[in-house]
Subunit: 221 residues, 2 copies
Amino acid sequence: MPLVRAFAFDAYGTLFDVHSVIEACRAVTDDPQGFSLQWRQKQLEYTWLRALMGRYEDFWAVTEAALRFTLRRFNLAVSESVARQLMDAYLTLAPFPEVRGTLDRLKTYPLAILSNGSPNMLEAVVRANVLTGYFSHLLSVDAVKSYKPSPAVYELGPSALGLPAREICFVSANAWDAAGAKASGYTVAWCNRAGAAMDELGFTPDVEIRSLDQLPPALGI
Amino acid sequence: MPLVRAFAFDAYGTLFDVHSVIEACRAVTDDPQGFSLQWRQKQLEYTWLRALMGRYEDFWAVTEAALRFTLRRFNLAVSESVARQLMDAYLTLAPFPEVRGTLDRLKTYPLAILSNGSPNMLEAVVRANVLTGYFSHLLSVDAVKSYKPSPAVYELGPSALGLPAREICFVSANAWDAAGAKASGYTVAWCNRAGAAMDELGFTPDVEIRSLDQLPPALGI
């Protein structure tokens, strides 16, 4: 394994639990978990589809579009203010329980977030969870107007951190994101929280862990 | 509505029922429908992800990769020959019941297929169903080494048919494909077989039908 000199974390699903919106969804449906899963799936699909169409809109707009789809799919009509509450839940997503402890363990390294999120969304969720001090960079795809797993996105890490990709450990809970980062030369840790099957995209992460606290021992640091 | 002078059909899900592989799946699992849905979802995801990564492999390879993922996800180990039987089901997918009648109604127009499928896959499924004579062109994304909804793919239609996109009616059962074609200027018919919600990608089809036999009357022809 190459010497790791910095870390770049995916945000949604890796540091922050997207399904912490379930509580907010409870206000509109008696299947908040199904609603949240559908919303998340469409949110991801729309990032891939818009990037491929060459029709970038930022992650806030895409998340809103995925919410509109999900409301129609669930035959729900909600007021503007309720829709706003659902969206606002994204600005205060809870971190997974082991996040702060892991960041404390790694705080002697430069730490970045490299995310689909818009700059405003990333700043808000990091600030809401009082994690600002840990990160030297909040890197958003918005800088290149595309989405993961476009190589242009992953190039933001080496460029901002001033290190070759292989010396940056990219950490994601999303298998396809781990594959995309590996294709761009990072050292990659896949945080396989759900015990899922790795995606078959021709790239294998260097390390597989089940939660972020396993990261330092997996890297021998 | 612009005057329509030709038709370009999506293949999988539109002319041919991808879930006719369910019979073949029955040989490996007691949840053949769930298996087939997972296989199809991953197949689509891998087209989007590989196109975005700039790591094109043809649709046969992507379909095989999605099958490998699905077998692992379902904790199934199968022999090479069983895997081959599952794959071969893609070469003989059944058309939806109204396909032949609709093609007969439209056969005075130039008719094309514009599909993610590899040239071999398209030729095989069209030949297996004795539909070869209806189509002037079998257009595969393989010509541009990308996947729908990349604009490069949709440009294949006007180029091959020698018509502006708005004079070609693009027909797809996949909402995101309908949106992609609309973004490229086609007249678009969305064959919403499942009564689904339209995707929120900023583009609306010109016509929505529930099965292909509704296409000629919807266009007034």
